[in-house]
């Protein structure tokens, strides 16, 4: 038996009154920690996938949508742009390097991206099994795709049109898996990547069907491969500048002088975070309020229990315990509650993150699975300890100043 054990026994002796303060604290700490975790994980994931892309060029529309679709692969593209126009931009002297990507199809919900091979290098994709594509209709498959769909080397994938699962399927859209990529913790994990030519080839026939009666296009389609001024299209182009200074001027030039849209990912992402940062802030104020209320409830709890237990306290003093030991016991009781509240709160947030990431993985094939303790969470621990000490301070002082003789004489 010791003072610490006694504190714990006291807590368990009144489980109901202790559990309300505990539940409030778990809720408060849990919400804040969950917000912090999600915020950090999403930000990390977003930054990680940015890979120094300075600018994205695509069809006119929402710049955020352009970024989300072509950098993060989570929204629909704004439309297509002509390859010729894109070439003009990539030949500009300010452009350091450019990668053209194009969409068209999906395989069971996973996007098939036609891209130059530089695209895989950008995300440091490494082939785990098989080889790079050499011919049209050969694909490399990202790690999450083959894990989830159990795709093996040599499998044939019949694609569907569009980016969602419920598209019409192309009879001719049969891709052959020639390589599997190692997990890279980037967007390519959830993509199926092929040469731009494959996507053009499929949609050539496809577009052809659609535009059968539009005479103006017919001629061009037939000679597509040899034609100099073809009407091939791409979805977007990822650009790195030669000098970071260009980021100010070049996107504006494109937006003003061409019918293309240029968007700067870092700018759009910080705008996005500002938007939902406001919600996060409001919610965390609410959570801090809950923590403060839990402190009050703890205080009331201890204060009442001091009154109920005054004879008990007097007895412990007459047994020879010092005032200091008795006050320590009260503070211990409070700290045991707040620290276990903190630990349960962290567990709560971890389950929350796991839940949210399982939801996200289903809808947008993103995955957030890192559960390290953030610096801000150490602050939360500090806050919990502080709440524990502050709310037990007055009861502890009362016990310290308690007149045992008077209490015993009144009995």
């Amino acid at each position: 038996m010791n003072i610490f054990k006694l504190s714990i026994k006291n807590i368990f002796n009144k489980p109901l009154s202790s559990s309300i303060s505990l539940a409030l604290l778990v809720l408060g700490v849990g919400i804040i920690s969950l917000l912090l975790q999600l915020n950090t994980l999403i930000k990390d994931q977003m930054d990680n996938n940015l890979r120094g892309i300075d600018m994205v060029v695509g069809a006119k529309g929402s710049p955020l949508q352009l970024i989300l679709s072509s950098v993060y692969h989570i929204d629909s593209p704004t439309g297509n742009i002509s390859l010729a126009e894109a070439e003009t931009i990539s030949n500009n002297r300010m452009v350091g390097s450019s990668i053209k990507i194009l969409y068209g199809d999906n395989y069971k919900g996973f996007r098939i991206v036609g891209a130059e091979k530089k695209f895989i290098e950008l995300y440091k994709g490494v082939i785990k099994e098989g080889k790079d594509w050499d011919n049209p209709y050969e694909v490399l498959v990202g790690s999450k795709v083959y894990e989830k769909l159990k795709i093996n080397l040599g499998d044939e994938l019949i694609s569907s049109h569009g980016l969602r699962e419920t598209g019409q399927s192309h009879d001719e859209g049969t891709f052959k898996v020639v390589g599997l990529l190692k997990p890279s913790n980037s967007v390519i994990d959830q993509l199926i990547i092929t040469s731009p030519q494959s996507v053009w080839d499929i949609h050539e026939t496809h577009d052809h069907d659609e535009h059968e009666n539009e005479n103006e296009h017919e001629h061009e389609h037939e000679n597509e491969h040899e034609h100099e001024h073809d009407n091939r299209e791409i979805t977007a182009m990822l650009i790195k500048f030669k000098s970071p200074m260009n980021i100010i001027q070049f996107p504006r030039q494109i937006n003003e002088n061409t019918n293309l849209q240029a968007a700067v990912p870092s700018y759009e992402i910080s705008r996005l975070f500002k938007l939902f940062g406001f919600g996060i802030e409001t919610l965390s104020y609410l959570a801090y309020l809950i923590i403060i209320v839990s402190g009050f409830s703890l205080f009331i709890n201890l204060f009442n229990s001091m009154r109920e237990r005054k004879y008990e306290m007097a007895l412990i003093r007459t047994l020879g315990a010092s005032r200091f030991q008795l006050s320590t016991m009260i503070i211990f009781e409070s700290l045991v509650l707040t620290i276990s509240g903190f630990i349960l709160g962290l567990l709560f947030s971890r389950f929350g993150v796991m839940f949210v990431s399982s939801l996200m993985e289903e809808s947008i094939n993103y995955n957030l699975n890192s559960l390290k303790i953030l610096n801000e969470e150490y602050w939360l621990l500090g806050l919990s300890v502080l709440i524990g000490v502050v709310s037990s301070l007055i009861p502890a002082i009362q016990v310290y100043k308690m007149n045992i003789s008077k209490i015993l004489a009144d009995a």
Partner: protein, 207 residues
């Protein structure tokens, strides 16, 4: 062993007590008897070091209580004095055995065999693992005696141990207290208004 001289005490300048001198030798038990309101509990708290007198001297085991700090008094009490209260008090979250272990912990002791032998001696060993609020009145009183003697005090102070008991139980309890004091080598001072106890003590003073 105990020598008091001109002990005076007043509560907030309203109630004023002046106690007669006590001189008690080693191996003697003492009955202090008095009507309600003459300051019996006050005297007991003074002897136990729970209160400090305003003037006079209380010398217990050759130590002057009035010169000790509150911390020294706590320490003196846990090493020398066991108290049996009029109404038994326990730590309710603990079992009988744990209450006794707590008392030992406070006195920096740890001796489960002593706890067992005390509980057996008081015939409540089978209640060791019961919470104290599951005990009957008689059992509670015996546990409170166990609490008073668990740290082998040299002096047991009992405040009205028999006031609410019938004649039969009254004599049982006082015999039990005297036996425990003898068995564990302690002196006993009982403070009461209960004149039935007079016949059990050779030495008594009236307040």
């Amino acid at each position: 062993m105990l020598k008091t001289k001109e002990v005076e005490f007043n509560y907030d300048n309203q109630m004023f007590f002046k106690f007669q001198n006590i001189d008690l030798n080693s191996n003697e038990n003492l009955l202090i008897i008095g009507e309600s309101g003459v300051g019996k509990t006050t005297l007991m708290h003074l002897l136990a070091g729970l209160l400090k007198s305003n003037s006079g001297s209380i010398k217990l085991f050759d130590k002057e209580l009035n010169q000790m700090s509150s911390y020294q008094l706590d320490s003196f009490r846990k090493n020398n004095i066991g108290i049996v209260f009029q109404r038994p008090h326990f730590v309710n979250s603990l079992t009988v055995k744990e209450n006794l272990q707590l008392a030992q912990y406070i006195a920096n002791k740890n001796d489960n065999t002593r706890i067992e032998s005390i509980l057996k001696n008081l015939n409540i060993f089978e209640k060791s693992n019961k919470k104290t609020n599951q005990l009957s009145q008689g059992e509670k009183q015996r546990v409170s005696i166990a609490l008073a003697i668990v740290n082998s005090p040299k002096l047991i102070l009992a405040d009205e141990p028999t006031s609410s008991l019938d004649d039969n139980n009254c004599s049982k309890v006082i015999k039990l207290l005297k036996k425990q004091a003898t068995d564990f080598g302690a002196q006993l001072i009982v403070i009461t208004h209960d004149s039935r106890l007079k016949k059990h003590f050779k030495k008594s003073i009236e307040l």
